[in-house]
């Protein structure tokens, strides 16, 4: 099982090769894998519907509790079947839709990668593994939405989809970690049994909110719904697959999967049913606002996703059966409709419904498919969509909370959905014939296979619900957590849901008839709609950039003294804080100074201070030199002859060097304002005082005996030298000295290169002098 999925990734990587071998038919060859998988999954149907859960274990990173264990129960089987079956048709369809496209091979790479990620997502038992696949679907869908990457709009939409879903993914990651901590397990299956512990846990609410953040963004729930219609910038096969049947349902899958662990609480029921209902109405309402066929379908997908979320929120047995049925129905009809939309686009050259009409003669098969699928979308007997809608209304009626509110919203959504269904199925094919950019004709067989079969299945399952009843029930069982014993039927007799359906049919058709007027009316709401969540998204993105620029101006502003001041303030602030609050000052120092020593020290200070205030460069350097010589004298006075000599030599050389260089530099000018100088003095004094205090603290505290006693004792016997400092330098601590000479050598190379090598001049010189004469000057 794992092998099949991982093999799929490998197959994806080899897609370009397959294209070299099989040319245009590579898509068909690749479709063999999901087809095989689908067959295998069908084979598992009896076992799963009998209530078994199949587990395929595989360790991955046991240290982090990450396994690649796959789990097959009703829920994952339903999803896996949808993914692989629709995947087969999509691969076939894409071969027609993108025929001759230069990037078809790349498309197959990413599409196959996506398909396998999606399969991994619904099959994984481990939270982390599931999350890995979750994020992989985000990335691959980014690459698919941006398939037409030269189009700025496509890039923008792709980024939007990615940003929203990955943003949710971040929340999800936190949520999953909390879930695992609270439930003390990383296995979804194990967590199913720990519902009570989880719901009682202190982290329950944050955990729930984080998980919902992930699920809602992925499944385009309000207020994150806006990315989905924008994702229609993708080629139609992608929209048909990702944005109707699979990826957007990942969030729904997650919610369903966690229903036994997290569901049923007040928070769960409230949030899911209200957000779901709101999404449902928003989607249905906005669907009627657009004339682009893919946009209409996309918003109707939002509607469906909202419905599914709402049903999970209601969470009764009835609702979960409705959930499973609706899910299946939606995947079938929406896949078909999108593919038909692609055919229309492909064969007429436009996506605008308003520009189409009367195409049924030219495209009879497409027209029939569209009609059947749209009937299912509209929830009209005898299609599977009808069963789904009836069950939905039924369970809303019996909802424990918000029943009336949800009912009103559901009926409203049903009305508008019906209108939308009529728009996509009737408008293009019936009525007066309109001129399209390309002369219309029926799509090729590769493109028709998918819609015909999917629409056909909608009808077959509608008429004979017993065919899918076991699968639906076993899905509902997985979601419910305990066995669900029921069966689907087409006809429930005349009851309230049926009456509501009839009402929605009538009102929906009315809206369809007056669609233009309805749109005019909707347009008046534009000012409000334009301030929706999408505007908030753009504002957030702008805010990031604005804050970023502001921060860069504040911090990384190019002024080195600002950098220095900041660094020093941090040093003084942190160290000073520690010194004041962590250390008990107990100054206990005896001052034992001789007069000549005090003189040297005084001269040192005078030198340093003079160097600061002198306006003349030479005087400043001389003052620094004086200070250096005083330091040398101090070394000699306090028993360090080697240091004294070294300091003397180094100081001399440094002063000479400074003078050599100063020749080339301008005089000092007063550049800073008085205020700046005051600030600098304050910073300088603060740092200086800190250092003084630190030294005092160290010398007045306990000082442990030094390791140098050993060196003093062993310098002659073991080191064979009488100058202990030198023995330390070349023997005890020779490694320091080794490093030191390398520093010196490096500085010399640096100086040499800096003075003799200028890349721009060098290039010019090299052209003049072909031999490397320039190198050594």
């Amino acid at each position: 099982m794992q092998l099949a999925v991982l093999g799929g990734f490998v197959l994806a990587a080899f897609a370009p090769l397959l294209h070299r071998w099989f040319g245009e038919r590579a898509g068909l060859v690749m479709a063999l894998l999901p087809a095989g998988l689908a067959l295998w999954l069908f084979g598992q149907l009896p076992a799963v519907t009998a209530g078994q859960t199949l587990v395929f274990e595989y360790a991955w990173m046991p240290g982090l509790d990450i396994t690649l264990t796959f789990l097959l129960d009703g829920l994952s089987l339903l999803f896996a079947l949808l993914i692989s079956v629709i995947g087969v048709f999509i691969l076939i369809y894409a071969g027609g839709y993108l025929k001759g496209h230069q990037d078809l091979a790349r498309f197959h790479v990413v599409m196959m990668g996506f398909m396998m990620s999606m399969l991994g997502l619904v099959l994984a038992d481990n939270l982390v593994a599931m999350f890995v696949f979750w994020e992989l679907t985000s990335i691959t869908s980014y690459l698919l939405i941006g398939f037409n990457h030269t189009d700025p709009e496509a890039r923008k939409s792709a980024l939007q989809g990615l940003f929203v879903t990955v943003g949710g993914g971040m929340a999800l990651m936190a949520g999953l970690v909390m879930l695992a901590i609270a439930g003390d397990s990383w296995s979804l299956q194990a967590l199913t049994d720990k519902g009570e512990i989880l719901r009682e846990h202190g982290l329950y609410l944050p955990m729930l909110l984080c998980v919902l953040g992930g699920a809602f963004t992925k499944s385009a729930q309000f207020p994150f719904h806006f990315w989905l219609p924008n994702a229609m910038a993708a080629p139609t096969p992608v929209s048909a697959y990702l944005h109707s049947a699979t990826m957007v349902k990942a969030g729904i899958y997650l919610l369903a999967r966690l229903q036994p662990s997290l569901g049923g609480t007040e928070a769960w029921v409230t949030i899911l049913s209200l957000v779901g209902a709101l999404t449902m109405v928003t989607g249905a309402f906005l669907a009627l606002r657009h004339t682009g066929i893919k946009k209409v379908l996309a918003y109707s997908t939002v509607m469906a996703l909202g419905t599914l979320t709402m049903l999970l929120g209601i969470g009764t047995e009835e609702a979960l059966i409705a959930f499973a049925t609706f899910l299946l129905a939606h995947s079938l009809y929406k896949g078909a409709l999108f593919m038909v939309a692609g055919i229309l686009d492909h064969e007429t050259g436009t996506k605008d419904i308003a520009a189409m009409g009367g195409l049924r003669k030219a495209m009879p098969i497409s027209a029939i498919c569209a009609a059947v699928a749209a009937l299912s979308l509209g929830g009209i007997i005898p299609l599977l969509g009808f069963i789904g809608k009836e069950l939905m209304l039924e369970s809303v009626l019996h909802a424990e909370r918000f029943s009336n509110l949800l009912l009103i919203m559901s009926v409203a959504a049903a009305i508008m959905t019906l209108a939308a269904a009529a728009i996509v199925a009737l408008r293009p094919f019936f009525g007066a014939r309109r001129e399209t950019p390309k002369p219309p004709h029926e799509g090729p067989s590769t493109m028709l296979t998918g819609p015909v079969i999917l629409a056909g299945l909608s009808l077959v399952f509608g008429v004979l619900p017993s065919l899918v009843s076991p699968l639906v029930m076993s899905t509902a069982t997985s979601v419910h957590g305990s066995a669900v014993e029921s069966y689907l039927s087409l006809w429930h007799g005349v009851n309230l849901p049926l009456i509501l359906s009839l009402i929605s049919l009538v009102v929906g058709l009315l809206i369809y008839r007056h669609w233009e007027r309805w749109r005019g009316w909707q347009a008046q709401l534009d000012p409000i709609l334009n301030r929706g969540p999408e505007a908030a998204y753009f504002q957030f993105m702008n805010l990031v950039v604005v804050v970023a620029e502001w921060q860069t101006r504040m911090l990384q502003n190019g002024y080195i003294r600002n950098y220095l001041v900041m660094t020093l303030l941090i040093l003084v602030g942190l160290t000073g804080h520690a010194l004041v609050f962590r250390h008990d000052f107990d100054l206990d120092v005896a001052l034992d100074v001789r007069i000549h020593e005090a003189l040297v020290a005084g001269l040192m200070v005078a030198g340093a201070v003079t160097a600061c205030i002198m306006r003349s460069r030479l005087a400043s350097v001389a003052a620094v030199g004086t200070m250096g010589f005083c330091i040398a004298l101090t070394f000699v006075l306090f028993s360090a002859p080697d240091l004294g000599i070294t300091q003397l030599l180094v100081e001399t050389l440094t002063v000479i060097l400074l003078i050599l260089v100063l020749f080339r530099l301008p005089r000092f000018a007063t550049l800073s304002t008085p205020l700046e100088r005051v600030r600098d003095v304050v910073v300088a004094l603060a740092t200086g005082s800190l250092i003084t205090l630190l030294i005092l603290a160290v010398i007045s505290g306990e000082q442990l005996p030094s390791i140098s006693e050993y060196m003093v004792a062993n310098s002659v016997p073991l080191g064979h030298g009488h100058n202990i400092v030198n023995v330390i330098l070349v023997d005890f601590r020779a490694l320091d000295t080794l490093g030191e000479i390398f520093v010196l050598a490096l500085a010399a190379i640096g100086v040499y290169a800096m003075l003799r090598f200028h890349a721009d001049e060098y290039d010019a010189a090299k052209q003049r002098l072909p031999h490397e004469e320039y190198l050594d000057g």
């Binding site: 330098l729 070349v730 020779a734 010399a748 040499y752």
Partner: protein, 140 residues
């Protein structure tokens, strides 16, 4: 300022230079027992060459040095690293001092001494490299 110095400078340089170089060698060799050592000695030697440079100019100094100061740096570093290795031969940790007595003059020769000579060469070479580069740059 570089090409030629005053008469006094050139005479001083000519007279002082051998003395300074000798003195630097003396500082180097006695460094293990008295104040001195490779670093101080190297600086003194560098001072000698620098004086010569200011007195007689770049070309003369180059001729006198024979090798590029950069090569001195390389050689010094190489000696420095090399002096750590003999210990490995004896199965001891790197840097473990090895002492050999030179038979005739009874001078104790050791890896720390090689190391100190490396230091000497690096200091001499580095300072000269920088000074020569500065002077050259001024000439351009």
């Amino acid at each position: 300022m570089v090409k030629s110095g005053t008469l006094i400078l050139s005479v001083a340089a000519r007279l002082l230079m051998p003395l300074q170089l000798l003195f630097s060698l003396f500082l180097l060799l006695r460094g293990h027992d008295e104040p001195g050592g490779g670093f101080i000695a190297g600086l003194v030697a560098a001072g000698a060459f620098a004086l010569y440079l200011f007195a007689y100019g770049l070309t003369a100094t180059r001729a006198m040095l024979r090798v590029s100061p950069r090569d001195l740096v390389g050689l010094g570093l190489f000696l420095g690293v090399l002096s750590t290795l003999p210990a490995w031969w004896n199965g001891q940790a790197f840097f473990t001092a090895q002492w050999w007595t030179v038979p005739l003059i009874d001078y104790k020769f050791s890896t720390p001494l090689i190391f100190d000579i490396g230091v000497y060469l690096v200091v001499l070479g580095s300072v000269l490299t920088a000074v020569v580069a500065l002077v050259e740059n001024d000439r351009d």
